[in-house]
Symmetry: C2
Subunit: 644 residues, 2 copies
């Protein structure tokens, strides 16, 4: 590894650099890599189950649980190690994430002491494989409308878990088809004839021999686009009885007579608080998406630097395909965005670590802000993964279509990341909702109608709440040259001001639009929906503009922190490329709103091309800087990937 690559790696490794290095040393690619040959669905699932068992013998799963619960409460280390697993087989990543993160996380965060004592040791050790049974066939994004019921029977003091119709079947549940023994089932809690909203109940689904338990019908989702090692299945419950103690009752419980009590009065707010405790899943998916994307870029950029095609006129030598300008744009723009998102992910993990370490001491505002940040980064990072891995596949031509290149599996396995842990379109609307309501306490209790009314009545103009880098960014923005200065495009303050200006303006005009619509429609619900729906593209644009700004600020702060002059110089250029590619991508908006002149717009496009050319000599170092051990890459390309 060159000095430059090493410096870049150190910058990317961030606060949990030690965990990353430990993973590089510990994780044996022979054990955790994707299979070399095609396996049957059953063989693949068995292989991944074995990998999970091997992972259970490492210290990593324990990082995700509090000290009093059998772990060490190093949540940042937990998510960082999970991210590193994104360089291994992604079926393992997802299977491990379902078991320890979603299932274990539900028990830890929604349960209370007795659940922790009874279940967490076996969950952490992997002895009790679990499922996270939230999504139903009929309802995925709209979790509040789930139809499975858990009804209290006062005669036996049991909960009766039931699937009332085909749409209420639990669907796509990881671990259900083959290995899961206990399921965290989300259901409408009913007692004394009253509905208390969605709660989570632990329901055994298989005995120790793997046979499904009475009343539980288990189906297999069968083949999927990817993630062949994950045994997704259906669960249907026919009046399955569990003791009342199976209810995870941190946010709402029953007494023996079926009387309901909860520390949170408002049911909508209670619901969002419960979901909010599961935020780590989204942070983890964003991290895994980032790792998979960097793997794909490392394969495609290395190949592009070695593969030659067509002789240059007047030369006997063929040109490496990475020397073609179009190929540079194809790979180096997403490479720059991947650096940006890696730094933003590090920053998100730190934020999550602080909020979750504070436990009940965290403010509601901070918790809501964390949820919005996680939703936004998850949506942007997974969309980036899908687009970038696709571009990498195409950039490798026929070689990239062969399974041996690893690119097909990277693409197919990550493809569902834009859908699970919250569909990206739904998540971006959550981000916009947070911006419109400034993450107030009311945030959790507002439905669409409430958001529109809140925005209409109380929104006083966008407040750009800066990231941790706020002081630095403000200094840069204040020092930005005027818009007429020739050299402005390479000024960091000018770039930041443009990106921030877009966020503010899009949000302000969105609020105005909702206000006008709300006035015109009065308090009639149907009309208010139409107002919100007609503005949906605007809502999504506001969320994306916000995430763009946050990610860029994190990048700027990371460059500022970098102490290695060699790496810092190159990172400055990568940051220029990312910032200007954002401006270029939205130049229609900037021109429409008279933020840049046509001449400046053309200058931005020219600068993007020049930065690609300037970074071309560093391309291999930039992907080596991802710090992916060579033996993990495992891509068999026509011209083999050589050690850096």
């Amino acid at each position: 590894m060159t000095d430059l690559a090493n410096g870049l790696r150190q910058a990317l490794d961030g606060r949990w650099a030690g965990v990353r290095q430990q993973c590089r040393d510990d994780i044996d690619p022979l054990v955790f890599a994707p299979p070399r040959e095609e396996l049957s669905l059953e063989d693949y699932r068995a292989r991944v189950a074995d990998q999970v068992a091997a992972l259970a013998r490492t210290p990593y799963p324990g990082h995700g649980f509090a000290a009093g619960q059998g772990g060490d409460g190093d949540y940042g280390a937990c998510v960082t190690a999970f991210e590193m697993l994104g360089h291994a087989d992604l079926s393992l990543l997802v299977k491990a994430g379902v078991h320890w993160g979603l299932f274990g996380g539900a028990v830890a965060n929604l349960g209370t002491g007795r659940h922790h004592t009874a279940r967490l040791p076996d969950i952490i050790s992997g002895a009790l494989p679990g499922c996270f049974a939230m999504t139903e066939t009929g309802h995925g994004s709209d979790v509040q409308s789930l139809r499975t019921t858990a009804t209290h029977d006062p005669d036996t003091d049991e909960l009766v878990v039931h699937t009332p119709d085909a749409g209420a079947r639990k669907d796509y549940i990881g671990g259900a088809a083959r290995d899961g023994r206990l399921a965290a089932v989300f259901a409408q809690l009913v007692s004394r004839g009253e509905h208390h909203g969605v709660h989570c109940v632990l329901v055994p689904i298989r005995d120790e021999d793997g046979r499904s338990l009475p009343g539980v019908t288990i189906g297999d989702c069968g083949p999927k686009a990817g993630l062949r090692g994950v045994d997704n299945g259906h669960l249907t419950f026919d009046h399955v009885r569990v003791p009342r103690a199976a209810l995870l009752d941190r946010y709402g419980g029953l007494d023996a007579a079926g009387a309901y009590s909860s520390p949170i009065e408002n049911p909508t707010r209670r619901f969002f608080t419960m979901l909010g405790t599961l935020v780590r899943g989204r942070v983890s998916v964003a991290g895994g998406a980032g790792a998979a994307t960097r793997t794909a870029l490392a394969i495609a950029v290395t190949y592009a630097g070695q593969r030659r095609q067509f002789r240059a006129p007047g030369s006997d030598e063929e040109v490496t395909i990475l020397d073609y300008r179009a190929h540079q744009r194809r790979l180096l723009l997403p490479l720059a965005a991947s650096y940006a998102l890696a730094f933003a992910q590090n920053s998100l993990v730190e934020l999550m670590h602080e909020v979750q370490s504070a436990g009940d001491g965290a403010s509601e505002h901070d918790q809501r802000a964390l949820e919005a940040r996680a939703a936004g980064i998850k949506a942007v990072a997974t969309a980036h993964a899908t687009a970038t891995i696709q571009a990498c596949r195409e950039a490798c031509g026929g070689a990239g279509y062969m399974a041996a290149s690893r690119l097909p599996a990277l693409k197919a396995d990550t493809d569902v990341f834009t859908t699970f842990e919250g569909d990206n379109t739904v998540l971006l609307q959550l981000v916009a909702k947070g911006l419109l309501t400034d993450y107030r306490d009311e945030f959790g209790s507002l439905d669409t109608l409430g958001v529109v009314r809140f925005a209409a009545r109380q929104f006083a103009g966008a407040v750009v709440e800066r990231t941790a880098a706020r002081g630095l960014v403000q200094r840069l923005v204040d020092a930005a040259p005027g818009r007429d200065r020739e050299d402005a495009v390479l000024d960091r303050g000018w770039q930041l001001a443009l990106v921030e200006d877009r966020e503010r303006h899009v949000l302000d005009t969105l609020a105005q639009r909702l206000r006008r619509g709300a006035r015109a429609s009065g308090d009639e619900g149907g009309e208010t929906f139409a107002v919100f729906n007609d503005a949906q593209d605007h809502v999504l644009e506001a969320a994306r503009a916000h995430v763009d700004r946050v990610v860029l600020e994190d990048f700027v702060a990371a460059v500022d922190r970098c102490t290695d002059p060699l790496a810092k110089g190159v990172l400055e250029q990568v940051c220029d490329l990312h910032a200007l590619s954002l401006v270029e991508a939205h130049r229609g908006w900037y021109l429409e709103h008279d933020r840049i002149t046509p001449a400046r717009s053309k200058q931005v496009t020219a600068a993007v091309g020049e930065l690609c050319a300037a970074l071309r000599p560093h391309a291999q170092d930039l992907v080596d800087g991802f710090g992916i051990p060579t033996e993990w890459l495992g891509a068999q390309m026509p011209e083999p990937l050589t050690a850096p």
Copy 2:
């Protein structure tokens, strides 16, 4: 099927409507559909080989060969039937395309009478499975640099076919791994110590029992992203001897003493003429991509019209996801583009049919223009397929990730369409080259250096060579209202003028740029490459702008031809949506070049949203209009797709 859907189908069916209907009646989905369950690679390949055998018993393969060669020379019918096969298993589409289209096409177009007599009957009947062995591990896009040699041995009057090094191995060859018996091998022809450039030689690779022949080493490419039923493999030749008569010698042959002669003097022009006869492959891939895209849209749009999620405020009913504006943009914009491309494909097939039916009577200009048109439509249609099928998968959420939805296979199978039959980036450069040189005779003989010099010296300004719709388009453009008229965005002439203006301006400025660059760099080759390379994005943009204009004109002409008033009215709106989405996508360019005002740009975006809403009620009819028999769709979605 509603009257509207029926009217739309008739418009889309075009000149070979009879063949389409025949396919709908004849092609048994039980025989030709993708498998319902996961098969091993070997079982899948065996299944597709059986499907090819079944297809051989239909009249369709015969359409692709001239009357004197055992066919009926109905080339348009051939390509149309192939397109219909794009609704079936895409492994079958590709396997059939390799055998009859590429391999059979090479024998028919590059061979002479003795080859036709000896080989075509068995090729048409499917008795002699073949391979098209062009691509090598080291050279794919740059076919002129292939390294396999076919050297004449005057002592035995044989050709010695040889793979000199690992990079010269034939790679990704469909049919090589399992079924192929005879290969059309592209090799550098050498005789008397002289190189005559790339020619094609028929080389037996397996005996009747499937054993590889002496000197031929066959490898298996193994698992791929998709197309699991196609047996792609490697071929390596160790001094394999074939009689001189195995050389397909229409464009260049040897006498017994090894003296070379060709009807085409210039070797580069000869090479491009040979490749040009294979244009039907690109036309076919574009057609197959279109059919697969329409299948995906039919699945996703039907699902979106049935799937409900989230209650509208003030309503007890949940909203169908297709009623959300963001979902409409996601699906209806590609739906409009798919209509546009379907009409453009019909027009391309007619052009191809006319040129190929004329045989040697076709002018070189027409042949070159056909090649450029095929290259452009192939590049745009396959990129559209990749993006659209991905969007369809995401729009179906978790259900779209399940193999049962068919979307994963549609995505994975078509993914390589952007790469094979010419990498899209390379093809678009071919399109630009044609525009810069106006498809002159010299076209075929110009390398990059030649194109730059030609453009620099002779390019006199872009000539927008109109499609068959030229009279109609000119009238519409002439009648377009001024740019200040409020209602201009929905005026067809205004839309056409904008799209045409972009093509002309991008091309003119590209020529100026090359001219300036060529002057500055003089005649030094390396510098000229740098000039062309620095302009590569500009080159690609010129090609895309050209294809956009051609496709839009074909759409306008098709709407004009439509005699069903109901269908015509809806097609006008779909055409508006497509035209305005083009303007919207490039609004950065239009604003930069002062072609539209900021206010007009915002009006275009608003109009796109309004057109989506206006077309929402017709969405199901629009996909039913694709004329895909319900039993062909075969998607098992949570809420089953019902018959229209």
